[in-house]
C-alpha cells in the first residue's frame, strides 16, 4: 500500500508537470525556497556552534518550536497540495491503518515534509558540543522529525474539518484570528523585554525554558537535559514529546477514518437572510450585481472569509499590541516602534490588492455564467473592484487609524490613509489587468478550504513581481510623500491627494484595459480557472 501510494503520488506529480508549465515553475520556486530556508538555518546553526556554542541548546529548542509552529501555519494558511485526499479513497475497500502509513510515506514528496525532516536534522549541528547530547539528539531524530511532520498534518486536517462544518465555521475563524494575534502579542512582549543586546540571550533562554515544556519544543530539549544529567527532566520531556507524537498520530488517524466515511464537503451556511439592504444600496446594474455578489461571498464562502481574516490580521496585531501597551519601549534611547508604524497600511494595501488578481479563480467554472450572459469585461472588472473595495477600504482606514494611534503622532493620519488606500487602488488597477491574463488558482468552491492553491498558486508570484516595479515607478510619488510626512507632516495631505488621484487613474486603467483583455480572452480564462475541481 505504501509503495503503491508513493508511486501514485510520484505519477501525479509528473503528470502535473507535463500538463502545465506553471507546475514546473511552481516546483522550481518551491525547491529554491526550501533550499534557501534550510541553507539559512544550517549556516545559522554552524555560526552558533562556532561562535556561541553556549546558546546552542536554547537556540535549538526555540528553532525547533518555531519550525513546528511555522510548518503548521504554512499547512493551514497556504495549504498543502493534497492529491491523496482521503475522500478519494472512500469508495475503495481500504482500512485506515494502511492508508495512514501510505499517505505518510507518500508525503516525502511534499516540500514542507522535507523541510520538517531536514530542519529537525539541522539541530544535530549545535548538539555536537557534547557526545552525550549528540547521541541523544541522533536517537531523538525520529521523534523530532515526527513532531514536525505529524503535528502540522493533524492540526490542518482538524481545522479543515471544523471549517467545513456549518456550525463551527465562524467560531473557528475567530479562534484562528485570536490565536494568531495572541501569539504575536506574546512575541512582542518577549521582544519588548529586550533593552540591550545582552538581554537577547536571557530572552532566548526564557523562551526556550517555556517552549521546552510545551508539545512544540519538548522533543528538542531532551538532548540538553541528558547531557546535563538531569534524568528526571529528560524523562518528563521525552514523555511529553512521545505523547505529542502519539496524540498527533492517533488524532490524524481518527480524522482520516472519519473522512473515509464522511468526506469533507463544503456546504452552504444553512439558512441565510436574503439581505435586501445590499441590493438597495448598490445599483441594479451588472456592476452593482457583481459587487453585491462579491460582498456576499466574503461572508458566506469560507475561502473568501479566510482571505478577509488574513487581511484583518494586520490591524488586529497593531491594535492588539497597542492595547497591550508594549509599544512604549526604549532600546538604547531609540523608541520602538518608530513613527514608521503609521505606514503599516501600505503593507496591507499590498495584501488586499493581491486578492484582486485571483478573484476570478475563486469563481471556478461558475464564471461560465458571466460569459453566457455576455456581461462586458469592463463591467466584470468594475464590479469586482467595487465589491472588494467596499470590504477592504474601510479595513484599510481602520488600520490607518489604529497604526497612527500606535505611532503616537496623529498628524500622520492623512499620510497613513493616503499611502494605504493609494497603494491598494494602484495595485488593484494593475491586478485587474493581470488577473484577466493570469488569474491564478484557488480551491474549488466545494473542496477543502485549506486545499491546494489557497494562496493563489504560482501565478500570484507573477502578481508580486509586477507589483514591485509598479510601486517603484507610478506609486513612488504617493509613497515618497507618505514617508516624507514623517518629517514634514503636511506632506501627508499631498500623499493622500496623490494616492487617490493615481489610484483612481490606475483603477480606471484596470477596468478599461483589463475589461478589454477579459472580453478577448474570456473562454481561455474560463478553461484555466475551471481546471481545479
Amino acid at each position: 500500500m505504501a509503495a503503491h501510494l508513493l508511486s501514485l503520488r510520484l505519477r501525479l506529480l509528473v503528470g502535473g508537470l507535463r500538463q502545465s508549465p506553471w507546475a514546473i515553475v511552481a516546483l522550481v520556486v518551491t525547491v529554491l525556497g526550501a533550499i534557501s530556508l534550510l541553507g539559512t538555518a544550517l549556516v545559522g546553526a554552524i555560526a552558533i556552534r562556532a561562535l556561541a556554542p553556549e546558546v546552542g541548546a536554547d537556540a535549538a529548542v526555540v528553532a525547533g518550536a518555531v519550525l513546528v509552529l511555522g510548518l503548521t501555519a504554512v499547512t493551514v494558511l497556504i495549504g498543502t497540495s493534497d492529491p491523496l485526499a482521503t475522500e478519494r479513497f472512500s469508495l475503495l475497500p481500504v482500512r485506515v491503518g494502511p492508508l495512514r502509513r501510505g499517505v505518510l510515506a507518500a508525503s516525502v514528496l511534499d516540500a514542507w515534509v522535507v523541510v520538517g525532516v531536514l530542519g529537525s536534522a539541522i539541530g544535530l549541528v549545535v548538539w555536537s558540543t557534547s557526545v552525550a547530547a549528540l547521541v541523544a539528539a541522533l536517537m531523538l531524530l525520529p521523534i523530532t522529525a515526527a513532531t514536525a511532520v505529524l503535528v502540522p498534518r493533524a492540526v490542518a486536517d482538524l481545522l479543515a474539518r471544523q471549517l467545513a462544518s456549518k456550525a463551527a465555521r465562524d467560531a473557528m475563524a475567530i479562534v484562528l484570528l485570536v490565536a494568531i494575534v495572541g501569539l504575536v502579542i506574546a512575541v512582542q512582549l518577549l521582544v519588548g523585554s529586550v533593552r540591550e543586546l545582552a538581554d537577547l540571550t536571557d530572552v532566548l533562554g526564557g523562551a526556550a525554558a517555556a517552549a521546552a515544556w510545551t508539545p512544540l519544543g519538548a522533543a528538542f530539549d531532551v538532548p540538553r537535559a541528558i547531557a546535563a544529567g538531569a534524568w528526571l527532566e529528560a524523562a518528563a520531556k521525552l514523555a511529553i514529546a512521545l505523547a505529542t507524537v502519539a496524540l498527533a498520530w492517533w488524532g490524524w488517524g481518527r480524522l482520516l477514518a472519519e473522512r473515509l466515511t464522511n468526506p469533507i464537503v463544503l456546504r452552504g451556511g444553512g439558512r441565510v437572510r436574503e439581505g435586501r439592504l445590499l441590493d438597495r444600496l448598490l445599483p441594479a446594474t451588472p456592476v452593482g450585481a457583481i459587487a453585491a455578489r462579491s460582498i456576499r461571498y466574503r461572508r458566506r464562502d469560507v475561502r473568501h472569509l479566510m482571505n478577509v481574516l488574513a487581511a484583518l490580521i494586520v490591524p488586529a496585531i497593531v491594535g492588539g499590541v497597542q492595547l497591550a501597551g508594549v509599544v512604549e519601549v526604549d532600546v538604547d534611547g531609540m523608541r520602538v516602534p518608530p513613527d514608521g508604524l503609521a505606514l503599516v497600511p501600505l503593507l496591507m494595501g499590498f495584501v488586499a490588492a493581491a486578492i484582486v488578481q485571483i478573484d476570478l479563480a475563486y469563481d471556478n467554472s461558475a464564471f461560465a455564467w458571466h460569459l453566457l450572459s455576455g456581461v462586458r469585461g469592463a463591467h466584470d472588472r468594475a464590479g469586482r473592484l467595487l465589491g472588494i473595495a467596499i470590504v477592504y477600504v474601510p479595513t484599510l482606514v481602520v488600520t490607518a487609524v489604529l497604526s497612527t494611534w500606535a505611532s503616537g503622532r496623529w498628524e500622520l493620519l492623512p499620510a497613513s490613509i493616503g499611502g494605504g488606500v493609494g497603494t491598494f487602488l494602484l495595485l488593484a488597477g494593475a491586478m485587474l489587468w493581470l488577473g484577466a491574463l493570469l488569474p491564478g488558482e484557488a480551491p474549488a468552491p466545494d473542496a477543502n478550504p485549506l486545499g491546494r492553491g489557497s494562496s493563489g498558486g504560482i501565478q500570484s508570484l507573477a502578481g508580486i513581481a509586477l507589483s514591485l516595479p509598479v510601486l517603484g515607478t507610478v506609486g513612488l510619488p504617493c509613497i515618497a510623500l507618505a514617508v516624507s510626512a514623517l518629517w514634514i507632516p503636511w506632506l501627508g495631505w499631498l500623499s493622500l491627494a496623490t494616492g487617490l488621484l493615481v489610484g483612481g487613474l490606475a483603477a480606471w486603467f484596470g477596468i478599461r484595459v483589463g475589461g478589454a483583455t477579459l472580453d478577448r480572452r474570456g473562454p481561455e480564462v474560463l478553461a484555466h480557472i475551471a481546471k481545479e475541481r
Binding site: G270, R271, V272, G288, A289, R300, W369, L372
Partner: protein, 266 residues
C-alpha cells in the same frame, strides 16, 4: 448520413442556431470534427450521442464558452464569436457540469443573472418570483443553492437560462437528476415555449424522452454528425433507440466477456 436540412435556404427566417463546420481539437484528440447543423425556428431538437461523442464540446462552442478551432456558430443570424453580445442576448443556456454561484439563494441567483443581462430590476423581481413558483422552488427562500439537491440545482440553473426570455434555449442534459414531477413541469414549460415560437436545442441520453419531446433529432458520434433531420426522417420506421444503436452502437450486445460478473457462477 442525412445532410443538414436545407431549411435555411428555403425559409425567409434565419435558423435559430446555425453551426457551420465547427471543429475542436484537444492536444492530439479531435473532439469535434466539423459539425454543421441548422436548427429552424420553432423546433425542438434533441442532440444525442454516446459518451465522449462531443455533444458538450459542440454546445460549448455554440454558446460562447469554448473557442472553436474552426467553423462558425450563429444564433438567428448573429455570429456567436464575432458579435457575442448580440448572439448571447438572444440565447438562454443551461450548461452541464458547471458550478453555479451557489453561495447565493435561489432568488439572489436569479436576480444576479437578470441584472448581469442588464434587465430592469422590477422585471427581474417579477419574473424570478414566477419562475421559482413554476419550478417548485418558491418555498426555498433563505436556502443557499449550495444546499440544494442535484435536481433543484438543475431547476434553478434552468430558471437562470429562462429569465431574460431568450428566443433560443440550449440545454445540456436538462432532465438529469430531476424528479418525475419536476420533469413533467419542465417538459410543459418547454412545449409551451416552442408552441409560442421559441426554439430548443437539448442534449440527452434518454431516447424515449427525445422521441416524446422533440420534433427534430441530431445524432453525433466521434465528433461527427451521423444523422440529422425530423424525428421520422432519422428513425426511419424503427424506434430511435434501435436507429441509434444501428448507427453508433458497436458490440453493444456483447456481454459474454463479463461472465465472471454473474454472481451465480461463484
Amino acid at each position: 448520413m442525412t445532410s443538414p436540412a436545407p431549411l435555411a435556404a428555403s425559409e425567409p427566417l434565419p435558423p435559430a442556431l446555425h453551426l457551420h463546420q465547427l471543429a475542436k481539437r484537444f492536444g492530439s484528440k479531435v473532439a469535434v470534427d466539423g459539425i454543421s447543423l441548422a436548427v429552424p425556428q420553432g423546433s425542438m431538437l434533441g442532440l444525442v450521442g454516446p459518451n465522449g461523442a462531443g455533444k458538450t464540446t459542440t454546445l460549448s462552442m455554440a454558446t460562447g464558452l469554448l473557442r472553436p478551432d474552426h467553423g462558425t456558430a450563429a444564433v438567428l443570424g448573429r455570429d456567436v464569436w464575432r458579435d457575442p453580445a448580440a448572439a448571447k442576448a438572444l440565447m438562454g443556456v443551461l450548461p452541464d457540469g458547471v458550478h453555479l454561484f451557489d453561495r447565493l439563494t435561489g432568488a439572489e441567483l436569479l436576480r444576479y443573472n437578470g441584472l448581469l443581462r442588464s434587465m430592469p430590476e422590477a422585471e427581474v423581481v417579477q419574473r424570478s418570483a414566477s419562475l421559482l413558483h413554476a419550478l417548485g422552488l418558491a418555498d426555498t427562500g433563505g436556502t443557499l443553492v449550495a444546499d440544494y439537491s442535484a435536481g433543484m440545482r438543475k431547476k434553478i440553473a434552468l430558471a437562470c437560462a429562462l429569465i431574460h426570455a431568450p428566443r433560443l434555449l440550449v440545454l445540456d442534459e436538462p432532465f438529469e437528476a430531476v424528479d418525475p414531477v419536476s420533469g413533467e413541469a419542465i417538459r410543459r414549460i418547454l412545449r409551451d415555449y416552442v408552441a409560442s415560437g421559441g426554439t430548443v436545442v437539448l442534449s440527452s441520453h434518454v431516447m424515449e424522452l427525445v422521441e416524446s419531446l422533440c420534433d427534430r433529432v441530431a445524432i453525433v458520434a466521434d465528433g461527427r454528425l451521423v444523422a440529422a433531420g425530423t424525428l421520422d426522417e432519422v428513425r426511419g420506421g424503427s424506434s430511435l433507440q434501435q436507429r441509434f444503436v444501428d448507427l453508433v452502437g458497436q458490440r453493444a450486445t456483447d456481454t459474454e466477456g463479463l461472465a465472471w460478473l454473474r454472481t451465480s457462477s461463484r
